[in-house]
Amino acid sequence: MIHFLPLTDSVPLAHIVGLGVAVFAAGAFGFLVRRNLIVLLMCVELMLNGANIVLVAFSRAPASPDPQVWVIFMFAVAAAEAGVGLALAVLIWRRLGTLDIDALKGLRG
């Protein structure tokens, strides 16, 4: 009983979850193929955003306010992650003069 475009005031849960998972997969793809450190951090934010969309979707299907609280917690995690990540990016840029992750070879044996 999944209509493709329901002409009611509701949408299938599958479409919202699909949107969130698609955003997550796009972020994962970007994380694999991009090489600018700051863009990599943006792709991580994209993945967190996709996860948040899924959480909001599941706060409605079995109705419960808890997932929306988790989304608010995720904002704090994302802010801390961006703060530390960008500090590290600036540090690496100061050391190497570039943000290209291919220049990071210090740990290669």
């Binding site: 009611t8 599958a14 909001v56 704090a76 703060g83």
Partner: protein, 167 residues
Amino acid sequence: MRPLLLTAAFYLLSGAILAGAAGTVLLRRPLYCALSLLFTLLATSALYILLGAELAGLLQIIVYAGAVMALFILAIHMTGQDEPLKTPPLPRLLLMAAGAAAAGLFGLLMLAATRFFIAFVKLAPEPYSVAEQAGLIFGRYTPQFELLSLLVLAGIAGAVVAAKKKL
């Protein structure tokens, strides 16, 4: 008319979010990536409000689209690295492997959620009140909230230590 309008708004916002995500991943200049991500985050906050998560939507604008994106754009300007990298592009085989990995991830996650898919989500429902969510944060989730404050403190300390030239 109104239900149709809500449904149309949902699918338009979904398209905007996906377009912004594609722009973030595919655009070559980091600043354009950042602006594309900002667009995605604003469209997502509109989606949250449409789904009745008003507090999350408004906090998304303040924390994510405001503070975090300002930090990103500041970092891009501070390092002055706003040109596409000079390194040669990835080999086609690697790009295809990354695409296959992302597609596989999408398929697996969708498969995992399949058993919930008979449900429908009502658009623009009665939102949960701020008092109700605050009651959860400072009630059932107090330990997590305290741990989170520790995490943010560690983040601040880490950022300061990392950014200092000499300790």
